[in-house]
Subunit: 493 residues, 4 copies
């Protein structure tokens, strides 16, 4: 059922730039550090890049019980007021930001906004999920057949229903039961009345980190969310690990799953994570600079200016400039008053597209041979427009350098990707792409180059890839069974 | 869990007059008469007196599937716009208006607003319920223990979960299964993708009527909701009957329950139903006029003016005047811009109480002996204030005549009543009440007198009462088992 | 200029019944009685029947200066919250409710909502005006030519500009200067930093009363607004009088205008004023009952039931019943959840018209000869629909009795009337009207009968009418000069 | 008077970073290029950095007349919907974005939002003003004394009142009359029913440019607003010039003022203007890069990393890096989901201050000697916090390099500056500032260095400065007479 009642009338945001892959979620939780809600709100604000459409917070207080607020819009607009904080008392809390999948039936309803909550015989539990359950359709069908009533269209809701039906004696045990039936990628932050729980799937596809704040602990998708609340980054939750943290500050580590070789998402390094977050002991910014350097080695060109496509191409462009010696300059300026959405734009304004966000620094570009560095090419629509803007401004030559290999396969592990046929690299060769974009040259970093930049000195191990790189290689570490049932053809790993 | 997110910030209505019993719900449904949503909205508007806090509509369309809108506030403000109607396409639809129970933990969340919806293996179903399930706590506990996740704090949600777990082959059969496990009072309007369903509990405590509109049918709590859409009143759904109506206009009548002697709520005649509705073949207005006449016979008084407490006391006052020959006059004027609520009033305004709603027609009252006719006395707080207003205006004498017997017991069948100790008649004798209110005389109609006025020429049959009159007599036709488990002591029937 | 920015998006109210004359304004002010704003809000709530579209309050506090809040919607929804009261500190305050003229260019903008405010060299002043300035167009043109900038489309704004340009030494003197240039009808409540001012035009067309509350004073359009705040009604402000009241409770009475014979609006008795207000020493309710009696004498009929068109026809119907001996009954029931507006109704709902508001009490009407008593016939559209509803319900005969003479002329003194050609009585004889409405008989009270009912024992003095009755007689006591300039033809008085 | 009614309840934005000077306005207008409103909205979006609090658009259409919409919030949220565009028909239009002065009486009311509009005898005119009128208090007092009624607290409103009182035969002539009485800085875009007017004060303190779009013309504060609508940049409006542009595309240039030597605001180069705008024939980005290079020459230091304070310090940091050879790196990451405001933040969140916006890239900073390049130091509060973040992250040394001279004097020409005593440089020597900030070194570019960077090869001419640099030098080219009347002491020029 579509519940059209609770979406605010004035909130029909339009993603003005749909030519990016989108991380669908960020999760955060805290316990033992005083009032939870303001810390969760700050954490979610720092994770806003992982989901801009809506957010939710659940807290528990011994007197007031469980309380939640779920809202469309940015955290800074929806979760910062005293009024909202007053409704969210308690010392245990979790939160979630989400970006809805586009192209589906319609818009997210407030019912789809996590965390999901269930009241069990032994008390309530709330669950926030980053990732995607690849057998959700099958699980949902089975659960409905047995009398469960789903409230949302979200795959993540399966988890709470599986927990409700588990015979486990307590909530962590019920969560183990539930997650053992789930396939796909998940980094979960959950809570009971007194405990904070974190869990990553056996492959560890999505990130999840642990930090200490005062006498308490926080769990977050990225370290930048620990920084904002002044928490100390302790370690990553390990692939296949579940931690259960009490209000008193005791952490128990469980291993509910059979052990597997990890396959962390390599695209987190390329684009999803914030440049100031730390992944694998190095800042994402440095990794992206290293990608730029690697790219300069693999795909040099004679030029006058290295110019990033802002903001995501910036670190790689700096790296390319450092390696090549070609001066770095901001030939494209981003309007800082554009978020990722426009509210109900007119047709005319929608058609402005990238001009709403970017403007060329004409005086700087004119007469120059320009190396444009971008993080990825998805549909190629934005790349074409940027090329035109650059040429209109009088550039002599335009050379695209892309900080990732061609994106040729959809992601089924929690990233919003277009259907395969919409991916430029799925239907064109590198040369066709260059011609399609109309640029003087177009080079992608190689898969091996990317592995080297993220620290794998010998590149990708083709027999046992160190990362999940399915979007580049088609090598899906977990078979996307719902998709296969619908006819999707996976390339052999 | 309390979901504080979806209640509109500016909607903290305050019931400015809590000295009335409140019907908690009105239900409406339509099939086979063209677009359902506008008809449902009109029907709910006509039933607004049965629930002012919130309303909801669910419709189904073969293309658009199930859609719902649920809103706080009056139907005329929330369901009349083209924008809302556009979100609710389809030819089958049901709706619900509700008044939340006061005194409970807090305010209704949008999650508590009916109709409730469940997606089953054979398709979705929506259910709107008027009444109260007296074993809801026990059912909920059992369902949670078996893995159902409740989304609201409403007793009515049990029905949809029981249906979800039924093994019945279709939705009407599942509803029978569910309702056989439910105790209490229910008049239900439900829908599947193509069918409209109506059902009344075996005692028929709450009303439910069937009407014809064009080639289709409508179900409604009262006939006034048929009038507004131009539907012809066919008959009442009988106690213990379930009707299943197809889009093609076929009606099947089922009898899922063991047959019992009906016990319709006698207070529907006194106060809940609208005066222009027809109950038992007679307009409620005429019945109330008859109550006034009966009261004039039972409790005559010498006086100069018969004056109603507007608006609910008006028909009985007219009856009293006709019978007694004392002139009828509007000594109290109601401000027509008061609904049943004020939006977020200040303390000072809240304290104005009844003055916000009523003003005395001083010139008319001065120097007169006044018979004040009201429908009932609940807490007595309003009665005292009205008496003071009348005396301040210079009345010589004030005689209260009440169109119902003393309200001494709470209702557990879908009416919001204060706890027993708050009911004036539960703690005081008639004489103590008169003294407490400070009036020259105070008379209630007798239970037998009331039965005569509603058409039972020989009054109440004490061995087999023809109506549910538990609020007056304490004779509960269905044992309120949840309440008994919490310690409530029922008088022996 | 039309300022489309400040009208709330969701406030496009539709007057669901435009077949009534509408008072356009109510005014209220208070000084010396503690915090002014809550008292003004209550007073405006009691005057809501005089203007439902929007309201405004201005207060002054020595520290906080002048503050104002202006809002669309009912007072009970817009001025009752602590939040709004907190923005309105101070011991002097005035307020205004307004009903916009229909059929004009469009909707009221918030800029048109009074009180109007001006900052003068000697301090600020705010003015709230009930009535209409008949030379406003000419004044506006002159003021613009001399450099005044108008902020609204309201005729009342002229007053504050004339005050701004006066050379008077203080605000009351400037107001006298201004009002001597103004033609038409005005009952004004105004304020300076420390004083409350009330003034009526020389004819006293619109009402204005003075009350005492504690050590302070209140001014209001009607006495019902004094009742709600517990103020004692002292006297009417006299036609042509200006009172200036200080915070210390001193009242000075001025006579700024040449004296004329008063011409109070007789329609205030018929319809505009609330039945519990006192006009000329008698309650409006009693006057209306007297009109009904007079009508029963003038236009008797054999019938079984006297039935009011609710709510405005009720007192006259009671009077008709008392005089004629025909039983009184509520054959038409008003839905109490209809105010005077619907929010953005769909076409279909708009077409429901009177059915949204009224329903026939079929059981009561069936087979009866019914006398329907209404206050007036304007366009006749509603009357026709009511007649149809009554006949559909099975009435044998329908006799319309109207508590005012035929309305044949527009009002230019602060009442929203349709153009002359839309008034049924302007284009049809009494018999044509009867035929047009399709009723068995149609009788209006005579002008003399109406004068008798309001207390003029010898009826109307044709040489010096005691009231303004221009809407019935076409005898305009003030020449409507702007209208005449536009071609309106006045009947000779 | 403070009008508290029309500010949206939920719009109490908090400027989370008040340690910057703020341009107070951006203006835009278009004629002859089709529907004006969408172009004005786009232009204002591109100028959003010049005013984030509120915006307004006025248009004129022969049928619909003048229409306006004024709103709080970002253009992208308030002026992009079809609904708003539909209310703004017409081919001539102007718009304004504003940032309110902080520390003043309170928050902007919607009445203060420009454009201002006046209806004159010859038709209406709307005016949007960037700059500040330094004799506004005196003008207002005089106008009030003569009967003008002000609607806002804005200095700019004087212009429209002076125009209303002018005896000039048409609107451009009236504007000349008005502006000749005005002292201070103004770049004005105005409109009549058919004409677009642009005007700059004789010193040309604020920017204003002319562009061609199709057969029509646009006026804008900066060229970036021409770029977004695809207009071609023609030229700057000259200091002291007024242009009047007809719908037919005829441009007339007037010189209403005595000619003076221009004094363009040098801070527009440093901070206010967008880096992709063109000032004096060069992109602002290049000028800022040149400032960085100049700074590297004037204030070299041995270090490992040049790091900008994002985003405004970025181009100067790139210049410093290029000149010095020290590698450039993004040691501080800006959260792109922070605009310049937070909605109603809690105390706790407000106290987070800069951490809401900036996070240190710890891995990059650790162990390095860092040159931090910022555009200016105002109060120094942010600079201290950034220094602390950098040291916490493990930097060895912190060297601040500032791309402007010490800001020691308030601006009275349309920039929001703190009172003089709040300016760090007004009360401390360079060395005291270094100590106060706690950094290893602190160097500002010299005034001569800044002049060289903006293209004055021989630096500042002390006898006839080429720019307005009052904020650095205290040399005010127009005496701020209102301020002097209040006691402000100007340094001798």
């Amino acid at each position: 059922m579509t519940d059209a009642s609770v979406r605010p009338e004035d909130w029909h945001a339009h993603p003005f730039d749909d030519d990016k892959l989108r991380e669908e979620c960020g999760v955060f939780g805290v316990v033992g550090a005083g009032e939870a809600a303001p810390l969760v709100a700050l954490g979610l604000h720092a994770l806003q890049h992982r989901g801009q459409e809506a957010g939710g917070i659940v807290v528990h207080d011994p007197q007031a019980g469980f309380n939640s607020v779920r809202r469309f819009g940015y955290v800074r607009d929806t979760f910062t007021s005293q009024d909202v904080m007053d409704r969210l008392p308690g010392g245990v809390g979790i939160g979630h930001v989400r970006y809805s999948t586009t192209g589906s039936k319609g818009q997210t309803a407030i019912r789809d906004v996590q965390p999901f909550f269930g009241e069990f015989a032994m008390g309530g539990a709330a669950v926030a999920h980053n990732g995607n359950i690849t057998n959700a359709d099958a699980l949902r069908k089975d659960l409905i057949g047995r009398g469960s009533i789903f409230q949302s269209s979200s795959d993540s809701e399966c988890i709470i229903h599986l927990m409700a039906r588990s015979m486990g004696p307590n909530i962590p045990e019920r969560m183990k039961d539930a997650l053992r039936r789930v396939e796909g990628a998940f980094s979960i932050v959950a809570m009971t009345r007194t405990k904070l729980i974190g869990c990553r799937d056996p492959l560890g596809v999505r990130p999840l980190v642990l930090g200490r704040i005062g006498d308490g602990y926080a769990l977050a998708s990225e370290t930048c969310a620990l920084d904002i609340i002044g928490a100390e980054f302790l370690r990553e939750i390990e692939p296949g690990e579940m931690v259960v943290i009490t209000e008193a500050g005791e952490i128990a580590s469980h291993r509910p799953f059979e052990q597997r070789r990890p396959r962390f998402c390599i695209f987190e390094h390329v684009y999803f994570s914030r440049p100031d977050s730390i992944l694998g002991g190095r800042s994402v910014y440095e990794t992206r600079e290293a990608i730029g350097k690697e790219l300069a080695k693999e795909a040099p060109v004679e030029a006058d200016l290295v110019c990033p496509v802002p903001d995501s191409g910036t670190p790689a462009a700096i790296g390319y400039s450092l390696q090549s010696g070609i001066p770095y300059g901001m030939g494209i300026i981003r309007n800082q008053y554009v978020g990722r959405t426009f509210i109900e734009p007119t047709e005319q304004i929608r058609n402005m597209g990238v001009r709403l966000k970017l403007n060329v620094n004409r005086a700087l570009i004119r007469g120059k041979r320009v190396v444009l560095v971008d993080d990825s090419v998805v549909r190629g629509t934005t790349s074409r427009k940027i090329k035109e803007m650059i040429l209109d401004a009088g550039a002599e030559e335009v050379h695209f350098r892309i900080a990732s290999p061609p994106t040729a396969w959809p992601c089924f592990y929690g990233v919003d990707t277009p259907q395969r046929e919409k991916l430029l690299a799925a239907t064109m060769s590198a040369d066709e792409m260059r011609e399609h974009l109309g640029v003087d040259s177009l080079k992608f970093i190689t898969l091996d180059g990317l592995y080297r930049a993220v620290g794998e000195a010998r590149g990708r191990d083709p027999n046992a890839p160190q990362y999940c790189d399915a979007c580049f290689s088609g090598a899906y570490p977990v078979a996307p069974s719902d998709q296969i049932a619908k006819g999707f053809e996976v390339a052999a790993e």
